[in-house]
Subunit: 590 residues, 2 copies
């Protein structure tokens, strides 16, 4: 069976996903991969697969040699399947194609893993080595298609709001701030290097100086960091900047974009008017700046209620300037001592030496540390933490940072353990009023929480000189279900204010010049008020496609060792290449 004169015409009339009863009797040409072959003796059924779906073929010629993953092209007539043979799960499940001519376009070696199985139990290493087959399996393909759709929706949306997409350079300058740069040796200027951008931050601010007014870009960024499982050396960012606006504009723009993406790419209706929470509120009630608001289980401050406690450990903590917070586990009075011990072990890696606990039963407070508190203290805590009969109160006493960190992890752990999380809910929250400055332990000095161009909160400008750690900034993060989706800020456009910030950071004119030279120069030629945000696009697509694995939403990802297993890179290069660049490695001298 052969097409004869059509041998080199590879065009199909339909894809494998579109034929229905409407097409019955039509003569069609389909192409695709042999997904499954069933031999019935006098007939052969083939499931033919392509990106769009699957169509059943019927061959009367049973002699044709066909194996899984061979690529074939067939011509045949569409007919309705015999009654009772329809497959309601398939869009094409009511029809089949009676093959009149068949051409084998290419045969295939036996794949290293089975592409038929939906829940595949092979190592990710093998899948990454043969990524093209892993994509063909369907699951990754679908995620990449959602990613493509999300990119187009984002771009259409941004354009409709007058944001122009401007491509910024990949070959940039290495900057002393931030994470480690990937370097690119220059051949034309030996001894010098480009750096791959960690973000287009400076470029987008320069575009505002240029009068571009509204900019966006979906852009690859690079950080040479030791990878965690949810990081990639190159990642994608939706980068946005606008002039003559206020944070409210960014909130509205971002919210409507996210609502659109969840609707168009996931079919989910997200509630408008996202919650807002100050950084201080987040730290107070959730112990972190990216709270998962799908469940309550808040942290409650108890130290003010225990100012005169006789319980020695707490007393000592308070004397040392520490803090005490509690978590109320609903129904937790049922928990055994052993179970509670497990929770205590759980928090230890997060900087807490342990937890105090007590149970509220119908008979009153019982067990744990309950005996150390006065009735007034017990009543106070009961009210504050919303404790009912049958609940367990867990308490942490330590430095505030440790209490927050430990109870944040505990809270999330309990949320999972007690199934408090509705996996189909989307709890967006804007975290605002971040502190402008932070104490850098490594440098033993005050540093910027975000970057030195972040606008201080207008109400706090007087505090820069007098009480800098109290200064709030116009920085904001958008958080979803405990993940930081992105963040940004209003930038400083006033050179006097900028100078004041540099002074507060104890940066000399020389240091400013060395670190930010050309950028400060640019800002001196008429800078509009501007602000922006950057959203982690990979993370966003992960949320749109319900995966926790960042590699699932990247076509050709790298491993945690920053290796591409398919291409086998990074790799050694020829000595001539190094000679031309006038560089040497340990193995290959100049």
């Amino acid at each position: 069976m052969h097409f004869g004169e059509n041998m080199f015409d590879y065009r199909r009339t339909h894809t494998c996903g579109e034929l229905t009863k409407k097409n019955v009797n039509e003569v069609v040409k389909l192409s695709g991969w042999v997904h499954r072959r069933r031999d019935l003796g006098n007939l052969v059924f083939i499931d033919l697969r392509d990106r769009y779906g699957m169509t059943q073929l019927v061959l009367e010629d049973t002699s044709t040699k066909l194996r899984a993953e061979w690529v074939i092209s067939v011509r045949g007539q569409v007919r309705e399947r015999k009654s009772g043979m329809a497959n309601a799960k398939l869009a094409t499940g009511e029809i089949e194609v009676a093959v009149e001519a068949l051409e084998i376009l290419s045969s295939a070696k036996i794949p290293p893993f089975n592409l038929n199985e939906e829940s595949l139990e092979v190592s990710e290493e093998l899948r990454l080595t043969h990524r093209y087959l892993d994509i063909r399996r369907g699951d990754i393909m679908q995620k990449l298609l959602v990613r493509s759709k999300a990119m187009l929706e984002t771009r259409s949306y941004m354009n409709s709001h007058n944001f122009a997409e401007v491509t910024t350079p990949v070959l940039g300058r290495s900057t002393p701030e931030g994470a480690r740069d990937y370097l690119v040796p220059s051949r034309v200027h030996p001894g010098t290097f480009y750096a791959l951008p960690q973000s287009p931050q400076m470029f987008k601010q320069l575009l505002m100086v240029s009068g571009m007014d509204r900019y966006f870009q979906i852009v690859q960024c690079f950080r040479d960091e030791d990878l965690r499982s949810d990081r990639q050396p190159e990642f994608t960012q939706l980068d946005i900047e606008m002039s003559f606006g206020v944070p409210e504009d960014i909130y509205e723009l971002t919210e409507n974009l996210l609502i659109r993406l969840f609707k168009e790419c996931k079919g989910v209706d997200v509630e408008p008017n996202f919650k807002r929470m100050t950084h201080a509120q987040c730290m107070e009630h959730y112990g972190c700046d990216r709270p998962d608001l799908r469940f309550d289980l808040r942290l409650h401050r108890l130290d003010d209620l225990l100012a005169e406690t006789e319980f020695s450990i707490f007393k000592e903590t308070l004397a040392n300037g520490g803090c005490i917070k509690g978590l109320c586990v609903k129904g937790g009075a049922e928990m055994s001592r052993k179970e509670i011990e497990k929770l205590i072990d759980f928090v230890k890696p997060f900087g807490l030496s342990g937890l105090a606990w007590m149970k509220r039963t119908t008979e009153g407070w019982q067990g744990g540390v309950s005996k150390f508190f006065s009735q007034k203290e017990l009543t106070g805590m009961e009210k504050r933490a919303g404790v009912d009969h049958g609940d367990l109160l867990l308490m942490a006493a330590s430095a505030e940072g440790a209490v927050n960190q430990g109870l944040d992890h505990l809270r999330r752990h309990l949320g999972k353990k007690f199934n408090l999380i509705n996996e189909n809910s989307y709890a967006f929250v804007w975290v605002v009023d971040f502190p402008l400055f932070t104490y850098s332990e490594t440098d033993d000095r005050m540093a910027s929480e975000h970057h030195p161009f972040t606008q201080p909160h207008p109400d706090d400008i007087a505090l820069i000189k007098t009480d800098p750690y109290k200064v709030r900034s116009l920085a904001y993060d958008i958080v979803l279900n405990g993940y930081e989706l992105g963040g940004g800020s209003q930038r400083i456009h006033d050179s006097h204010l900028q100078a004041e910030i540099f002074k507060a950071l104890q940066l000399s004119d020389e240091e400013v010049q060395e670190k930010f030279g050309f950028f400060i120069e640019a800002l001196s030629y008429g800078t509009p008020p501007h602000l922006g945000i950057a959203l982690g696009f990979d993370r966003l697509v992960m949320l749109l496609t319900d995966t926790d694995n960042i590699r699932d939403v990247i076509a050709f990802p790298k491993t945690i060792k920053a290796t591409d297993l398919m291409m086998q890179c990074p790799s050694q290069v020829r000595q001539e290449q190094l000679d031309e660049l006038e560089i040497a490695t340990k193995e290959k001298a100049l």
Copy 2:
């Protein structure tokens, strides 16, 4: 004058480009840059500028200090300009805004060049050093906005044809083929390197193996080549690949995309059904594979007419296997000997030792080499080259490559010199049937004209073994006005045919494995017929915005020395950075 409580609300009610008579009496808030200030004693007129346009402000308070490029925000009432004062050139030319309150958002140093002048005569170096001001000037800004629009139109179009945009890695593998790679040293695997992609060619073919079916990407690519003025180390490509198609599909897809882009981004109606021309026809009639078809002035082969010529130079050329071609310059008989000498000098850098010439006047052939030819020869050339009374015939005799190269340059030179080119015409042509193989002088062996995965023309497969240089390929270029906009090919999907090509190229199995290893492996798991094209996106935007300077369509371009003058990069980096990468430069030892 101050907004008071609104001090930190930077929002405007309108842009500087949208107020018309319809808005008269409205109170508006505008922000922008002071473009021009005219002081009338009791009144000050300010032209306020932003990305969207310019609006005239009237200030009664003449004491306010305002200089060019200061950023201000004003509140005021829109009023119609006094009769006779309207400016028809401006969209906002019928109104002005009577300022009630004004806030200076930021002052500005005096710019290093005047932003008011439309035709700016400053060095490109100065403009690139202050690129943000160069963009603000307006001309570059408009081109970047067209680029943004072209990107969105392209993406909408490709998506509407089921092409998914898939992001491919920037950190890839160095390949021995092609141009010089930019390398990125790996810190995690010292002594090894990533390479920045010269194109996503392998990735897009792997996506076809994966069943992605239709892929596109607007993607940055990198080549570490010595730059010509129209090249950049990083450039942008529209990359396309599809499965189960034929070249006709790519022609149709590309044509309709280009028609749409010229319409939407330039307002130009391009004629559908682009011309097609074989590579052989192009070389024969235009001496190059990217003919500018906006004007005729074709090359005419004369050697068959001169087989028995007595003219010794021509005789010798033919004896050495050379070729003779002529160009007929309409009305060229008017040209002085001196002018003709100039043309002869013009061709010399292009491999020709000179030109022969003769004039056709009403009295017959005159001057130059006319006396050396028989009447039969003269009549033959006259007919062949379409020579009329008053024309000049220019002839080149040499090796065919030199004749083609010299006359191609001469043809284009004459096209400009005699104003034969309609600058508002768009002469698209598909150049098809490229040869599959070419002779590589550097390696003294046969090489692939494009790459070894290019499909041979189905009619010529038998010639691969017997007469390989005659084999045509299914490769194609799209050419516009003498520029190669892009090119592509049908790829080989049959492993037997692929093996035959490698054999013809005298590549051993080991060499194939070394050069293309993992790629050949991938192709063995069921490869669909596939084909694609890559279009130079920078060049396309240059044509859409009428510029010959590639730097005009790139926001932050590099110089011909691959330097970013604004950021001052490539630059030296800290010794610790090199130490971490375990590399050394000549200056800085390990």
